[in-house]
Every structure is written in C-alpha cells, then in structure tokens.
C-alpha cells in the first residue's frame, strides 16, 4: 500500500509539474500568437479567451458568407443611436463634404481622407448579413474600401497588431485585430443597397466587420489608429464595449 502511494505521489507530482509548466508555456505561446483578447482579465474573461483563441486558430482566414441579391432584406432595421451632435449636423448640412477619416498611430505616412478621396480608392461590394447581439439580423449590399487597402496606403508598420476606430460619437470606439483588419471583406463602408449609406445605418462612413456582431460595426467613423497594444486606449480593455460590460471580441 505504501509503495503504491509513494508511486502515486511521484506520478502526481510529475503530472502537476508538467501541467503547470504546460499551462505557463501555453499562456506564453497564446500571448505571442495573439490568442489572448484585451478583456481576458475581466470576470468571465476565461471563457472569452477560449472563444477568441479557438476562433483565431480555426477561422482566422475564413471568408464570410455572401448572399444573393434576392436575399437582401427589404426591411432592414437601423437600430437606435445616441443623438447626433451639432458637429455631425453641421457636416450633414454641408453634404459631408468636410467629413474626414484620419489615419494615425504606427504608420509610415499619417493621412486624412475626405469621402471624395475614399471614392477614388478601389471599391468592393459585399452582400452580407449583419446580426445584433440582441438576436435580430438583416442582409444588405455594402460597398466601400477594404480596410486593408487603407492600411497599405498609409504604410502600416510591421509591429501593428490592432486597428482602433472611433465614431464622431465620443463614447463609441472599437478595435479589431489584424485577422479582421486585413480580412478582404472588412470594409470602410460608403454605400448600401446601391445608394449612399443612409445616416441611420451609419452614413456617411461605417466600419463593416462582417465576421463580428453589429456593435463592432461602428457608425460615423472619423479616425483610425494603428497600434501594437491596446493598453493605452481607454481603460485598456480594447474598446468601449468591455468598459460597458460587453465582450471585446464579438465573433462569439
């Protein structure tokens, strides 16, 4: 009996050491390969980390579904937004001629683009589904400039890991990793269903991240900031969502 318990003790000890070392190594590797979301430290961050890591390992380059023209929703729902301020209304009265999208942070050539500039860039059109975290969804045809094209124009530095994007609404800002930022279907969106992007749907300029939920698809974007770390932004949780109790990664 004592022989067995000693053997048991030794094997248990070995397994525990191997397990602890394994976990440590796994955490290091996960950090290095970008498998840890910025809100990993919140109350239920463990589950969030598992979800994000699993999806980045399994679905990193997966294209999102494209639907046929006949599947475009006849009755899309724009959802509520906070009241648009005076600054927005002034720009709206000028036909958004003075709307700017600034690009800064870790870039070789910081830039600021007007809507007219953006319209001269290569455009892409995608018929994709947008789903709200509440459960509802609609399909629309979105057209705009692939975010990856803009990142190329400004010369994103090799150490960039995230793109932070802000709305003209001060409390609405988000960020995505490079898997979504460089994804060909992620669009800086100017048009919807063949026309200009209507204001309730985020016009004149909306970030469309089709592999994530609606709240990552920020309306009225004015600024992109490229960075290697999200620690310096807000409370360091990655975006406004975790600060309001919602997950940073919304691919689920």
């Amino acid at each position: 009996m004592s022989g067995i318990s000693r053997r048991k003790l030794i094997t248990t000890g070995l397994f525990a050491t191997a397990g602890a070392t394994g976990l440590g190594v796994a955490a290091k590797l996960a950090e290095r390969y970008g498998l840890i979301p910025p809100d990993a430290g919140v109350l239920y961050g463990a589950g969030e980390t598992l979800t994000y890591a699993a999806q980045r390992l399994l679905t990193r380059h997966a294209p999102t579904r494209n639907f046929s023209r006949s599947q475009i929703s006849k009755d899309p729902f724009a959802n509520e937004v906070a009241p648009l301020g005076e600054g927005f209304q002034r720009l709206q009265q000028g036909g958004f001629a003075d709307w700017r999208l600034a690009v800064d942070g870790m870039v070789a050539r910081p830039a600021s683009f007007s809507l007219a500039d953006l319209r001269t860039f290569p455009s892409r059109t995608e018929i994709t589904l947008i789903a709200c975290e509440e459960g509802w969804s609609y399909i629309a045809e979105w057209s705009g400039v692939p975010l990856s094209h803009i990142l190329g124009l400004v010369g994103a530095l090799p150490q960039v890991r995230y793109v932070v994007y802000r709305s003209i609404q001060p409390d609405w800002w988000e960020s995505i990793d490079m898997a979504d930022a460089l994804h060909p279907q992620t669009l800086v969106t100017l048009g919807m269903n063949g026309g200009e992007l209507p204001v309730p749907f985020g016009g004149p300029l909306r970030m469309r991240v089709p592999r994530q939920l609606g709240y990552k698809n920020v309306k009225y974007i004015t600024r992109l900031t490229l960075t290697d770390s999200l620690k310096r932004f807000g409370k360091g949780l990655g975006s406004a969502s975790p600060e309001g109790g919602y997950a940073w990664y919304a691919g689920i």
């Binding site: 589950g47 997966a62 009755d75 459960g135 509802w136 969804s137 089709p210 592999r211 691919g251």
Partner: protein, 259 residues
Amino acid sequence: MEIPAEFETAGQTAGAATSQGAERLRLRHSAFVRVTHWLITLSFLALLVTGVEILISHPRFYWGETGNVNTRPLFTLPIPSSRDTVPTGYGYVLPDQNGWSRYLHFEAAWVAVLTGLLYGAFGFFQGHFRRNLLPAPSELSPKRLAINIARHLRFRRPSEEEAGSYNVLQRLTYLLVIFVLFPLVIWTGLDMSPAFASAFPAVVTVLGGRQSARTIHFFVSIFLVLFLLVHVLMVYLAGFRNRVGAMITGRLTQPRERS
C-alpha cells in the same frame, strides 16, 4: 492493484456489508458520472439564467436568415423586453443585462461542451452508455413500455431492484438528452456566431439560416428545461435526500427510505 471503489461499475454492490438488509451501501454512480453531472448542472443553470436575460432583449422569433422589428415574426413571447426598440405592449423597459449574461453564457457553454466531450468519451470507452443507458431490447416492447409509462403516471416509487439501475424510460430520456438535445443546442448556439457561421456556413444553411437556428435553440432549451423539471420531480418521488446524496457520494444509503 486494488481498484478504488469509485471506479467500480455503477450498480455493483461494494463490500461485504451490502447483502445485509437496510444498511446496505450501493455504489450507484461512478465518480466520473457524479463529477460531470454536477459540472453540467452548474453550467446548465448559468446558461439558463443568462439565456433568459439575452432572450428578453429580443423576445421575437423568425425563420430563415433574417428578422428584426420591421419583419413579421414567426411568433412573439408575451413578455416585456430590455430594449425600447422592441414593441411589446408593455409600458416599461427592463434593465439591460446582456453584457455579463453574454460573457457568462459563452463561458458556461465552454464548461458544458468540454464536460460533455469528456463524458461522451468516458461513456463510450468505459461502457457507461452500453451498460447503464442502452435499454435491453426486451424492455422496448410496446407492452413493457406501456406498463412502465402507466407506473410513472401513477407516480409509483421505484421498486427495490430498480433502485440500483435505470428503468427503460429513464434510459430513453437520458439518451435523448445526451445524444439529441445537448448536441442540437450546442450546434444551434454556434450557428449564431458570425465567425463560426463564416467558417462553416453549411451548418447554418442546413437549418434554414441564422434565425431558424435561433428559433430551434429556443425550443431545444425549452425541452431541456422540461427535462430538468421532470428529472427533479422524479428524484423527489424516489427520495430526494437519498438520491441527491447518491449523486454526491456515489452511494444509496437508505434503499427503503420513506417506504
């Protein structure tokens, strides 16, 4: 090497004292079944509470890929909502609990899925499914089933022999929960993930679309809640303390309790 008592076959008797009357201690559930049972219980309760919270932010259901407040729903639950954009007929809006509910829903889903996978592997390789859950063919005759159903409907307490094993209705119900409802609720849950649906579109389209998956997710959850209620009622009828005790310690201490 001595086999630890926990790894004996469920239903076997342990020790010499067992054959002596009311004091017998039976190993009713193996350690693996007990641990996975309570892990699933915990995660299911978390999934249920958070699932209800998420649901009330949009208590409307649709079929196909799309659906929103501008669309005619398949059906609407007559409950208030936590969003003022949803027309409910109630004059008030419930507080938004979706943030933590979503975090916890997916964390609990991970616990449920990982536990379910371990349990499934154990069930196949240790013979738990074959031995304890697969009904004997003779039990499946319409006559035997009818007798069993009638006994359940009269709320008869299980007989002495039955106390050490599962009866045929239990076996069929557990198999349905383990191999149909549980996989289906995980499947339809995953369908609502935009990243997962992008990588594996066929698992969404085969069900008719994202909203169809959401609607099926809701109905499967209802069936799982029904199962939970009947399960707890049956445990109560069979002797609550004794049965819950057996799922904790592995042993039925008083087979004749309350008889």
